[in-house]
């Protein structure tokens, strides 16, 4: 069992080179990083800064060209595709910009999807954790709606419930508010903050400073390097902002 001492993420000299040879692209050029349990981290950067590559490697969708990546103390170097898939199933929950829900499939079925691939057998079929996950994101009443019957914010909540359902060590959110208006974005950020307060480690990738301002720690990337890694002393409280907006209107 991983203890609190072991960081959820530890990168040591991680390099990612695409199309090696003369036109080699160094998407990541020797990145060192540690993220501890319970953190809410925002990774910022312009396009081409390497943040997407970072996201793919953190999510075990891709492996570094060089360097070492430990997820929950497990070194992923040299793992097979199948072992990476198992690790994703066990440790990681994904939230995407475009929600990426299965169309014409109810919210409940979408949330149950990761349970199909749970090889560890952590969940008894009789006691599906999916309804509880939907209640945690405030969609207990809409379990049997299909994505086309849900608003963008609600769809993203379903996606967050899907990420939560396997009780992962880490939730990776790639531009989670990119397709949402500012009010809904605040709602989603409030949800992330609430989940983080319950102890869930969350890494957000975003290019919007407004969104990043809700994190406890902001990492800025440029040209494959980390150029800034700063703790935010007073992160914005999304729930409070929403309450203010309500009063104002």
């Amino acid at each position: 069992m991983p203890t609190a001492d072991i960081p959820v993420i530890r990168l040591q000299g991680v390099t990612k080179v695409y199309s090696p040879g003369e036109n080699a692209v160094h998407a990541l050029a020797g990145v060192d990083l540690e993220i501890r349990r319970g953190e809410l981290v925002a990774i910022m950067g312009a396009s081409g800064s390497g943040k997407s590559t970072m996201m793919n490697i953190l999510g075990c969708l891709d492996t570094p060209t060089a360097g070492r990546y430990e997820l929950d103390g497990i070194d992923i170097t040299g793992l097979t595709k199948n072992a990476l898939a198992d690790l994703r199933s066990l440790k990681i929950g994904f939230v995407f910009q475009g929600f990426n829900l299965l169309a014409r499939t109810t919210a409940l079925e979408n949330v149950e999807l990761p349970l199909l691939y749970d090889r560890a057998g952590r969940f008894a079929p009789a006691a599906s954790p999916a309804p509880e996950a939907l209640r945690r994101v405030g969609l207990g009443e809409r379990m049997h709606h299909v994505p086309s019957q849900l608003s963008g914010g609600q769809q993203q909540r379903v996606a967050i419930a899907r990420a939560l359902v396997t009780n992962p060590s880490l939730i990776l959110a790639d531009e989670p508010t990119g397709n949402l208006d500012s009010h809904t974005s605040l709602e989603i950020m409030a949800l992330f903050q609430e989940l983080n307060a319950q102890g869930i480690t969350i890494v957000l990738v975003t290019h919007e400073p407004d969104i990043a301002a809700h994190a406890h720690r902001v990492i800025e990337m440029r040209d494959g390097h980390i150029v800034r890694d700063a703790r935010v002393d007073a992160p914005l409280d999304a729930a409070a902002e929403l309450a203010q907006l309500q009063v104002a209107s």
């Binding site: 793919n56 999510g59 969708l61 891709d62 595709k81 199948n82 898939a85 198992d86 994703r88 199933s89 066990l90 929950g93 994904f94 995407f96 990426n100 299965l102 014409r104 499939t105 999807l113 990761p114 199909l116 691939y117 749970d118 090889r119 899907r162 396997t166």
Partner: protein, 405 residues
């Protein structure tokens, strides 16, 4: 991943594209139905022929004029009329394994009587002919040994001839003229139906062979000698015995070939079945081609489906699906399509087989084996043609797949 979950996912995604799935299935439905009907027709024909060959008689052997050779030059089959009444009489006298022997004298001629006239086959035979062919009479009686000895002008009519000349009355006791020679009808045979070759066995009249020789000469030829053994087990030994007696009767020196041929019912059956087997194989092969085309249709649709659902594959992989999970998902989908298509095709095939039998009067034999094979075959089609698209899906890179628009 559990099999039940796989089937559920496959069914869900199939139901999402009802029309497309239905059209894809149609190829398999038609293929399986065609195979079922064709095999049923082929097997029906085979069963029919078997029944007809059994109908020839019981434990029957046939001796036919065979090839003769003169100075080593073969003259081909039935070159000379080498069968004689004496051969038949010698067999009757000397053979120990034969229950009955009868020469068969065959000619055609016009007969007149009752309602009109009729051209038919005239068979001259011994009274034993009835035993060998296992052919009872409807009314009257078959001619007797006394009729044969006394060269009486008596005849037994086949059902077709009786119906043609005497549609309303019992012909027994009536006079008919056979090639202008008057005969008395003493019996009518039961209907025996068609031969494998489509000849009406009932379109014939039977007369004693002595009478045929005396009154209808000019065309007198013994086409064959038929005989029957006491039991089926005696047939091989009886064949040897006939051969020995015939060689003696024809005075064939040792080392020379027989100038006659002996056939038993199994030989005849084998020849007839060989033909129908080739025919039914051919039919089934043609039908299988449509199954193959149906399979290609499935592969086509599965490839489209994989491309369409690239993003879904990416999502599934991101949340922990292995390549093998994705592969299983698509493979099960194509198997479900082809298996359901196979079941519908099976039902359709059976229904059309019954309808065909009803409309055409053909013998149609539905066998459970054919059904099982059709189902197994359609599942195999699903695996075979689903494999390539499923492998393509499993090989997708999750990052690329997630970005796919």
């Amino acid at each position: 991943m559990k099999a039940s979950a796989l089937v559920r996912i496959a069914t869900q995604s199939i139901l999402r594209n009802k029309m497309r799935t239905l059209l894809t299935m149609l190829g398999i439905v038609i293929g399986v139905a065609a195979v079922i009907v064709m095999v049923a027709v082929g097997q029906g024909a085979q069963a029919n022929i078997e029944a007809q060959i059994r109908g020839l008689g019981t434990n029957m052997l046939m001796v036919m004029a065979g090839s003769s050779s003169q100075g080593g030059v073969s003259q081909g089959a039935a070159t000379f009329n080498r069968l004689t009444i004496e051969d038949a009489e010698k067999l009757e006298r000397e053979a120990t394994l034969l229950a009955a022997v009868s020469p068969v004298v065959f000619s055609r001629g016009q007969i007149i009587g009752g309602a009109g006239n009729w051209r038919t086959a005239i068979i001259g035979a011994a009274p034993n002919y009835q035993t060998i062919r296992d052919w009872p009479v409807d009314s009257g009686s078959f001619f007797s040994a006394a009729d044969l000895r006394s060269v009486r002008r008596v005849t037994v009519l086949g059902r077709t001839v009786a119906n043609a000349l005497f549609p309303d009355a019992d012909p027994v006791g009536q006079q008919i003229r056979v090639r202008n020679v008057p005969f008395t009808v003493i019996g009518v045979l039961t209907a025996k139906g068609q031969t494998a070759g489509g000849n009406d066995q009932d379109d014939t009249i039977l007369i004693p062979y002595t009478t045929a020789r005396a009154y209808l000469s000019g065309h007198f030829r013994i086409g064959q000698i038929i005989a029957s053994t006491f039991s089926p087990g005696d047939i091989p030994a009886a064949q040897q015995e006939i051969r020995a007696i015939m060689r003696e009767s024809h005075r064939i020196p040792d080392g020379d070939d027989d100038d006659f041929t002996i056939r038993n019912q199994d030989d005849i059956a084998a020849a007839a079945q060989g033909t129908t087997r080739v025919m039914s194989l051919l039919l089934a092969a043609i039908a299988s081609i449509s199954l193959l085309v149906g399979g290609i249709g499935i592969m086509n649709i599965m490839l489209v489906s994989v491309t369409e659902r690239t993003r879904e594959i990416g999502i599934r992989m991101a949340i922990g699906a292995r390549g093998s999970d994705v592969m299983a998902q698509f493979l099960v989908e194509s198997i479900v399509i082809s298996l359901v298509g196979g079941l519908i095709g099976l039902a359709l095939g059976f229904a059309s087989g019954v309808l065909l039998a009803h409309l055409t009067g053909w013998a149609v034999a539905m066998s459970p084996q054919a059904a099982l094979i059709a189902i197994a075959f359609s599942a195999a089609v699903g695996v075979f043609f689903g494999f390539y698209p499923a492998r393509k899906a499993a090989a997708l890179d999750p990052i690329q797949a997630l970005r796919y628009e």
